[in-house]
């Protein structure tokens, strides 16, 4: 930050869920880092005279090398593991030849700046080039033909290694011709470990996020309390050819011929259901009421389910989404008691809708908790079961894959 002696005082963790009495004990107690009285650190921070370093600040350049010092494969694998440059699974070492081969998957030059990423909005963003993305794509085991998808995800500005204490993961939906060109799987086991492209593109997104943003190290650059299994890999192509509805990217205004990656931020919960059966409305209402309301649902519906809803009169995704938004209900008391929803309270106080109306409601009033624009549906699955999943996922970015070909 350029301030080598920034005045700081540290409470113990956590502040979340602590009583007022416990938090007063933090204030009356010791600084969690220095061990000195917390308030002594605070008061000295306000009054201790500045020295020359405080006045000058500190400026310096930082960089990372292009290549590591030569070593044996075993030792280099250990270097990657010890530096936490992996996802704790074996990686493909990014030799010059492998990276060069990956770079053939795009027309962009290796030194093209792709974007910037950071673990949270409070942290500095690191920058990276096409070549640096290629290094991480190699590590994930991806093939050059997948590289435009991986570059698009890197350019999205959305990290797949968020440091949020709530343990977000990034979930990607791929639409357009690229799905078939690189043989992604939207059929049997689409969300499982059964397709090379699905698996390694998602893994590459995670690895590039942690390495290109400056790390994802627990207790340092990663604070997710429980972590998230979706963070290993979560990429899904939509089964456009077997869906009775418009593909996701066309819904968002793109042409069917465009290849688009849509990034969702979530992975907190997964509900499941079948059908639609006779009691589907009750099932869906229960599921919608049971979500973590700060993170809206992304539905993944098998084509059997999608066709079933069409038979019930939901000729478009939008029609079903509207029904879901109208039937995602909670009492205002439950809604505003949610920990993460507190983050929306300032918007409500500022009069921003729909939050303001939700705040004005009496505690026992039943309110809708999502707008239709919050909810998304994609179609995927092998039609061996009429199954749907409701996954936590707020749409954060739609990025062109074609731009990175």
């Amino acid at each position: 930050m350029g301030m080598p002696n920034l005045r700081q005082a540290y409470t113990p963790h956590p502040v979340v869920d602590q009583s007022a009495a416990n938090l007063r004990a933090y204030v009356d107690g010791a600084d969690a880092i220095s061990g000195r009285p917390f308030m002594q650190e605070v008061l000295e921070g306000l009054t201790a005279p500045l020295d020359e370093a405080d006045i000058q600040g500190l400026s310096f350049e930082r960089t990372t090398p292009r290549l590591l010092a030569p070593d044996t494969e075993d030792n280099l694998e250990r270097v990657f593991e010890d530096n936490r440059w992996t996802d704790c699974l074996p990686i493909v070492l990014p030799t010059e030849a492998r990276v060069e081969a990956m770079l053939k998957g795009t027309s962009h030059s290796p030194d093209t700046i792709v974007g910037r990423l950071r673990p949270t909005v409070f942290r500095e963003a690191w920058e990276f080039t096409v070549e640096k993305v290629a290094v991480n794509a190699v590590m994930a085991g991806a093939r050059p033909e997948y590289f435009p998808v991986i570059l698009a995800l890197a350019a999205s500005g959305i990290t797949a290694r968020s440091s949020s204490t709530t343990s977000f993961a990034a979930i990607t939906v791929v639409n357009g011709p690229i799905r078939n060109e690189i043989k992604m799987n939207s059929g049997i086991g689409a969300m499982g470990p059964y397709n090379h492209a699905n698996a390694t593109i998602g893994r590459a997104y995670g690895l590039l996020s942690q390495n290109l943003q400056g790390g994802s190290v627990p207790g340092d650059t990663y604070m997710g309390s429980s972590g998230n299994w979706y963070a290993y890999t979560a990429v899904l192509p939509e089964a456009e050819e077997r869906s009775p509805w418009q593909p996701l990217h066309v819904q968002k205004g793109f042409k069917p011929s465009e290849s688009i990656a849509t990034v969702f931020f979530g992975g907190w919960y997964t509900h499941a259901g079948y059908g639609p059966r006779a009691t589907w409305k009750e099932k869906m209402r229960h599921a919608l009421a049971a979500v973590e309301q700060y993170s809206p649902p992304l539905f993944v519906m098998d084509p059997i389910v999608a066709r079933g809803f069409v038979n019930l009169g939901f000729e478009t995704k939008e029609k079903l989404i509207d029904w879901c938004a109208e039937n995602a209900l909670l009492t205002a008391r439950e809604y505003w008691d949610n920990q993460s929803i507190q983050l929306l309270r300032p918007k409500a106080v500022a009069g921003i809708e729909p939050y303001a109306s939700r705040l004005k409601a009496n505690p026992d009033d039943v309110i809708t908790i999502y707008e239709p624009s919050d909810i998304n549906i994609v179609v995927a699955g092998g039609e061996t079961q009429g199954a749907w999943k409701m996954i936590s996922g707020a749409l954060r970015a739609t990025v062109s894959i074609d731009k990175w070909r």
Binding site: M39, Q56, T64, L67, L93, E124, V135, P346
Partner: protein, 96 residues
């Protein structure tokens, strides 16, 4: 396996660190106005209230005011202007 190979560093490029001067410190706190900046993270309001109470108990001559940005995760320029114009110092509560 003893053959040596050369491989790429997988890390991105950190930004240049630009030196910044700290704001002048106060020689004493009595009679001064100190803003407590509640970052709106989970339970931060409860913590800041306890901090405010501590000042009331131990340094009652200090005018303590709690202030919040208009929105979570955003830089509230108006809030900063208020602190600069009406305050002598600020304590920022940072969640992450």
């Amino acid at each position: 396996m003893s053959q040596q190979i050369t491989i790429h560093d997988p890390r991105g490029y950190p930004p240049k660190v630009v030196g910044k001067r700290l704001a002048p410190r106060l020689s004493a706190l009595d009679g001064k106005t100190i803003y407590l900046v509640d970052c709106l993270f989970d339970n931060s309001d409860v913590f800041m209230d306890q901090l405010r109470q501590w000042f009331g108990d131990h340094l009652p001559a200090v005018d303590i005011r709690t202030i919040r940005p208009k929105e979570t995760w955003s830089d509230d320029e108006q809030m900063r202007k208020t602190i600069a114009s009406d305050g002598d110092a600020a304590i920022l509560g940072v969640g992450l």
